[in-house]
């Protein structure tokens, strides 16, 4: 009996060993760009050739460029705020590219690379950050909910959605993205309880980027984040989040398990937020430069570039093509952002109810009368 063994353990070391089982750390391409073999995940990516990896590389370079451009646009007064994903490209691209078109995504506000992989126009992604719209796209068109600002709330939405899929007998899976800090929130814990109880087809994809704004992950959890899932009876995978191939493999495994009635999986993608929490944050105030330097050596893009260069599939002209694509997307994003128009003030009433509602009609009429009180030359109520 395990319990009896624990209680009557001979030494403290024995207790520690029995209580904390170090989770394995799955990796396929290491930080130097060396391709390792022997990970349990190997079989899940046997179809991915080196040439096939070029597409992942391009995605990552492009989303980093999107991120840089959006950060610049914020500094230039074109966006109110922007949450950079610098350093988390592999975790987002690897997982997003594993999804089927009919799977549904419930993300936080930092998963802009996931949105890009989902085919959502970059300009649409910017809309809420420019304050011209409450959300940027139709969730059902892309099967990706609009970003959730409330930390962890989207895990409940995903679990609920997955339960619905289960009732329908669908093989669609819900995936939810959240951070290390969110695992300390009640919402996430409730979602894990329900997902486990009902064996809901949901994948909990945690990007452990080491910082919950200014709180380091070590302050929040004395065990690896993935081990929290075990307490709910949910199997976990701890994967190198800066290794796009390993992330793809882990997500494929989890999706397969959910699709085939195996219930939820918790993935901890170990990565690093190399930038600020948002453009309103200054990480130099709370974290050491040495830590950032150490993680720079594990940069997901540099690592893949090294691997692809060494294996000969990424040439200079190939790199140029990738860079050109990134520059084109950045230019499209900048022009699209600046051209975004202020919404009609009355449009705020448009999407509250699907059908006409007398209270809203009344409020709309009153607001319209109020707006009419401004003369034409003056800014209307929609002006910031």
């Amino acid at each position: 009996m395990v319990e009896a063994h624990l209680i009557y353990a001979e030494s403290d070391e024995e207790v520690a060993e029995a209580a904390v089982q170090p989770s394995t750390f799955e990796q396929l391409i290491d930080h130097n760009g060396e391709r390792g073999r022997g990970s349990a995940l190997e079989g899940w990516v046997s179809d991915i050739t080196d040439t096939g990896l070029i597409a992942f590389y391009e995605d990552m370079v492009v989303v980093r460029r999107i991120d840089t451009e959006a950060t610049a646009l914020q500094r230039q007064g074109e966006l109110g705020l922007w949450p950079p994903l610098l350093g988390q490209e592999a975790a987002q691209v690897g997982s997003a590219r594993a999804l089927a078109a009919h799977d549904f995504i419930f993300s936080s506000y930092r998963e802009n690379a996931v949105a890009y992989c989902r085919g959502i126009a970059v300009t649409d992604v910017l809309k809420p950050w420019r304050g011209v719209s409450g959300s940027g796209w139709n969730p059902f068109e892309y099967r990706m909910a609009t970003p959730q600002i409330i930390i962890g709330a989207q895990t409940l939405h995903a679990t609920g959605y997955a339960l619905g899929m289960q009732l329908k007998g669908s093989d669609s899976v819900a995936i939810t993205y959240f951070g290390d800090g969110a695992t300390s929130e009640g919402d996430v814990n409730e979602a894990l309880v329900f997902a486990a109880t009902y064996q809901a087809p949901v994948v909990f994809f945690c990007q452990n980027n080491h910082w919950a704004i200014s709180e380091p992950v070590a302050l929040q959890s004395r065990a690896n984040i993935v081990d929290r899932a075990l307490g709910f009876g949910i199997p976990g995978i701890r994967v190198d989040g800066n290794d796009v191939l390993a992330v793809l493999a882990a997500t494929r495994l989890a999706l397969h398990r959910a699709r085939t009635g195996g219930g939820p999986t918790f993935i901890e993608a170990v990565t690093y937020r190399m930038g600020a929490h948002t453009t309103a944050d200054d990480p130099t105030l709370y974290r050491d430069q040495a830590e950032l330097d150490a993680w720079s050596h594990r940069d997901p893009i540099v690592r893949l570039s090294n691997y692809l260069r060494n294996s000969g599939v990424l040439t200079d002209s190939g790199q140029n093509a990738v860079d050109e694509r990134a520059a084109a997307v950045a230019a499209e994003l900048r022009a699209g952002c600046i051209a975004l128009k202020d919404p009609d003030p009355l449009s705020i009433f448009d999407h509250i109810y699907a059908e006409p509602n007398s209270k809203i009609v009344h409020q709309r009429a009153r607001y319209e009368r109020y707006l009419d009180m401004f003369t034409d030359a003056e800014p209307s109520g929609g002006q910031r």
């Binding site: 610049a72 914020q74 500094r75 109110g80 304050g131 453009t279 309103a280 009180m373 003369t375 910031r384």
Partner: protein, 433 residues
């Protein structure tokens, strides 16, 4: 080539200002889009500012170390006119050619500061130049004038100060018509003023700096922190003037300029010894009164550079002769403009001789940090009751201002009367101590 200003955006969330820590470019530099042009410090972080466009730096509006309000221009670019058209369909937010009105969407400029510089500036000019004199501010002007937001917007763009407008609407609400009327009136007033005064040079603006500025600051600080009370007494000082003229001919005073001010200084030192509570100051930090055990006697001196108040250290230790020498030395040095800063601080009581300008009395403002100041009016022969008859006597008026936090009227009056009695009958000094 056209010029495009770049306005400081809100670099965080809801910030109103930022400091330009360093420029990474200079006027004339050619910059690329997103090239870092400056380091800017907000209340939250130091951030790098990427250039919003490619072009040539035409002007840096602010120097390093200066704090700028969100929405104010910080840099001007010289850009190709076509580039403007091809890159964006309409003027980029925050990159307005200087003379154009801002486009509607200014996401990053959402904080309190108004970026609509043209309208706002005009509004300010209106307010300062011609407050309608007959319109009275609303009773108890802490009450905000009642008006709806659209009317406030109208007033703002018309440069009308709502607190100066009488509302004719329901419950005194200011209506659109009220604002338009106020604007019309203001415009008429300006027009009238212009015709009445064809030359615009109705005043000369003199920049305030140096001593004038320091005096202004010290006076404001004193006048608005210490509750001032001024009391007066008119006194017959004939005996003192006679004593001084007799003494001046005696050996000890041969090389000394023995003035009435010296006698007053001596009288003040004697009186301060009798009334030490006057030789003190209010200490804000501890909310207590600091009473000095020595007298550093400040003398207000008019100099070509302005008013200064050097003090005679330990004046209470000096006799009349040494007080007189110290006074003439002090005045001489002050006129030469060579007063050492060290004697401008540490005063405990001040005398101001306004009589030299021919005036009878005044209400002096306390030298900042002291409890009392005495002003000496002009000494002139006037008909005065003397020994039951009317005689021409040497008469002067003394005025004492004191800090009512430190002294009450009784103590102030006792001190002032002690000084007056000494000047009226200098022989009392024999009996002092």
């Amino acid at each position: 080539m056209v010029t495009a200003d770049f306005l400081l955006p809100d670099l965080g969330e809801g910030l109103t200002e930022s400091e330009i820590v360093a420029w990474r470019v200079a006027v004339g530099d050619r910059v690329e889009l997103n090239q870092i042009i400056a380091d800017v410090e907000t209340a939250k972080a130091i951030v790098e500012l990427p250039s919003p466009r490619a072009g040539i730096i035409e002007r840096l509006y602010v120097s390093e170390g200066v704090t700028v309000n969100v929405g104010e221009p910080i840099v001007a670019f010289e850009v190709e006119a076509e580039a403007e058209v091809e890159s964006v369909s309409e003027p980029a937010d925050g990159l307005l050619p200087s003379e154009e009105a801002p486009p509607p969407n200014l996401v990053g400029y959402g904080a309190a500061v108004e970026p609509r510089s043209r309208l706002a500036r005009r509004a300010r000019t209106f307010n300062t130049e011609q407050k309608p004199s007959e319109a009275l501010p609303l009773a108890g002007s802490t009450v905000r004038a009642r008006a709806t937001p659209p009317v406030r917007t109208l007033a703002k763009s018309a440069g009308v100060d709502l607190s100066m407008v009488n509302g004719t609407g329901r419950l005194g609400q200011i209506t659109r018509a009220d604002v338009e009327q106020a604007k019309q009136k203001a415009e008429n007033d300006v027009a009238r003023a212009r015709t009445a005064m064809p030359t615009s040079t109705d005043h000369v603006r003199i920049p305030v700096k140096g001593v004038r500025k320091l005096t202004a600051e010290a006076m404001v600080r004193s006048a608005f922190t210490a509750p001032h009370v001024t009391i007066f007494t008119t006194v017959d000082v004939t005996r003192t003037t006679k004593l001084l003229s007799r003494a001046a001919t005696t050996a000890p005073f041969r090389n000394v300029r023995l003035t009435f001010l010296a006698a007053l200084a001596r009288a003040v030192c004697i009186a301060l010894e009798q009334h030490p509570e006057v030789n003190s100051r209010w200490d804000d930090a501890t909310e207590s009164v600091l009473q000095f055990d020595h007298v550093n006697l400040g003398i207000a001196a008019a100099t070509p550079r302005g008013l200064i108040v050097p003090n005679i250290e330990l004046a209470d230790q000096l006799d009349l002769k040494h007080l007189a020498s110290a006074l003439s030395e002090l005045v001489h040095v002050a006129r030469e403009g060579k007063t050492m800063p060290s004697v401008l601080t540490g005063g405990t009581f001040t005398i101001s001789n306004i009589g030299v300008f021919g005036v009878d009395s005044g209400t002096p403002i306390l030298n900042d940090g002291q409890a009392a100041i005495l002003a000496l009016g002009v000494i002139s022969p006037r008909p005065w009751e003397h020994k039951g008859r009317i005689r021409l006597r040497e008469i002067t008026t003394l005025s004492l201002s004191f800090d009512h936090r430190v002294l009450d009227g009784e103590q102030g009056a006792q001190f002032l009367m002690s000084v007056a009695r000494l000047l009226n009958e200098p022989g009392i000094a024999f009996t002092a101590r």
